[in-house]
C-alpha cells in the first residue's frame, strides 16, 4: 500500500451535509453516496479513496461548520497543486 499523503477526519455529527467540501476536493474523493445519516438527519460525505488524499486542506477551508480536521504526512514542504489552483 502506498504511503498516505494526507488524511481527513470528519466530525460527522457536526456536519450539515452542505457539500461545499465535495466540490473543493481536487481529487474528488469526498462524495455523497447516501450511506450515512448523522444525529441531525444530515448526510455527511464519505471519503471514497483515502489513499488519494493529498492533505491540501481545501475541504476544511470550505467547511462552514469546522467539521473537518486535515493532516498531511508528506515530509517535504511541497505545495500541493491544489493550493495553486
Amino acid at each position: 500500500m502506498a504511503e498516505l499523503k494526507g488524511r481527513v477526519r470528519i466530525a460527522t455529527n457536526v456536519c450539515k451535509g452542505c457539500g461545499l467540501c465535495t466540490v473543493a476536493c481536487p481529487v474528488d474523493i469526498m462524495v455523497f453516496n447516501g450511506n450515512s445519516v448523522n444525529l441531525k438527519g444530515y448526510q455527511p460525505p464519505t471519503i471514497t479513496e483515502p489513499a488519494k488524499c493529498t492533505g491540501c486542506g481545501n475541504c476544511a477551508q470550505m467547511c462552514p461548520d469546522s467539521a473537518l480536521t486535515v493532516e498531511r504526512f508528506t515530509s517535504k514542504k511541497e505545495d500541493p497543486a491544489c493550493l495553486k489552483a
Partner: protein, 248 residues
C-alpha cells in the same frame, strides 16, 4: 505529520444556527483563526449586529456585545473609547450595515475609529426570510421584489467598499470572497491585515466579504457558490480599495 487544519480555539463548541452551506460559518471561522493566531482572543471585544450574524457571540470564544440593528459601529466606538488598547471589531451583514446602519458605518470611518469591521455581503436579508437589501442585484428575485429588483423603482445596489474607501479616516478597505478555497485563504489574509492595522493604530478597516445565502437565494449550497462567482463578483469586484499608504 502536520495538522493542516483543525478547528480554531477561537470557536466555541456550540453548533451554529446557520443554514447548511451558508458561508457565514466560514467567515466567522476566519475571524476566530486570525484572532487566535495574533494571540488576541483574550483581549478582544466583538460587536455582533442584528441579522444572521447576531448569534456570533455564541460561536466566538471572545467577549462580545450584541448591538441594536445597524448600531454596532457606535457600540464599538463606545467600547474602544473605554479600552483603546483592546482589539474591537464589528461583524455585520448587509441589511445591518448597508441599510439601517449607513450613518453609523460612515461616521465610524469618518472619525477614523481604530476598529475593524467585517462586513458580510450576501445581497439579501437572510434572517428575516429573504427580503431585498440595498445590496440585492438588479433582477435578483427576493420576497419583497418578487419580480426581481427593478432598478428604476429601487435604485442600483450600494457598493459599500467603494463608498467607505472615499472617507479619509478609513485606512484599509478590501472586498474579498469565500466562494472557493483560494478565495477563503485570501479572505483570511485580508481579515488579518484589518486586525494588524488596528493593532498598529492606523485607523478604521473594513473587509467586505461576499457570502452566500442558499436558503434566501433558493439555490443549493454548491450552486450558491457558482451564483456568487458569476453574479456578485462582476458587480462587486474583488480587490483593495484603500491602503494605509493611500490614506496618508
Amino acid at each position: 505529520m502536520s495538522v493542516i487544519f483543525a478547528k480554531s480555539k477561537g470557536l466555541t463548541d456550540q453548533e451554529t444556527h446557520y443554514c447548511p452551506g451558508c458561508t457565514h460559518g466560514i467567515i466567522q471561522r476566519l475571524v476566530a483563526e486570525v484572532l487566535e493566531e495574533l494571540g488576541l482572543l483574550g483581549d478582544t471585544i466583538g460587536c455582533a449586529a442584528v441579522g444572521c450574524s447576531i448569534l456570533t457571540y455564541n460561536y466566538l470564544n471572545i467577549d462580545m456585545i450584541e448591538s441594536a440593528h445597524g448600531r454596532a459601529p457606535a457600540v464599538a466606538t463606545g467600547a474602544k473609547r473605554v479600552h483603546p488598547n483592546k482589539t474591537v471589531f464589528t461583524y455585520q451583514g448587509d441589511g445591518d450595515l448597508a441599510s439601517i446602519g449607513t450613518a453609523e458605518i460612515v461616521h465610524v470611518a469618518h472619525r477614523g475609529e481604530k476598529i475593524t469591521t467585517i462586513f458580510v455581503n450576501n445581497a439579501i436579508y437572510g434572517m428575516t426570510g429573504g427580503q431585498m437589501a440595498p445590496t440585492t442585484l438588479p433582477g435578483q428575485k427576493v420576497t419583497t421584489a418578487p419580480g426581481g429588483r427593478d432598478v428604476a423603482h429601487s435604485g442600483m445596489p450600494l457598493k459599500v467598499s467603494e463608498m467607505i474607501a472615499q472617507i479619509p479616516g478609513a485606512v484599509y478597505v478590501e472586498r474579498v470572497s469565500v466562494h472557493n478555497p483560494r478565495a477563503v485563504r485570501h479572505a483570511k489574509k485580508a481579515i488579518r491585515k484589518g486586525f494588524e492595522y488596528q493593532m498598529a493604530g492606523k485607523g478604521f478597516s473594513l473587509i467586505e466579504v461576499l457570502s452566500t445565502c442558499p436558503t434566501g437565494w433558493g439555490l443549493s449550497p454548491v450552486d450558491s457558490l457558482t451564483w456568487l462567482q458569476e453574479n456578485m463578483i462582476p458587480y462587486y469586484p474583488l480587490g483593495v480599495f484603500k491602503t494605509p499608504e493611500e490614506a496618508k
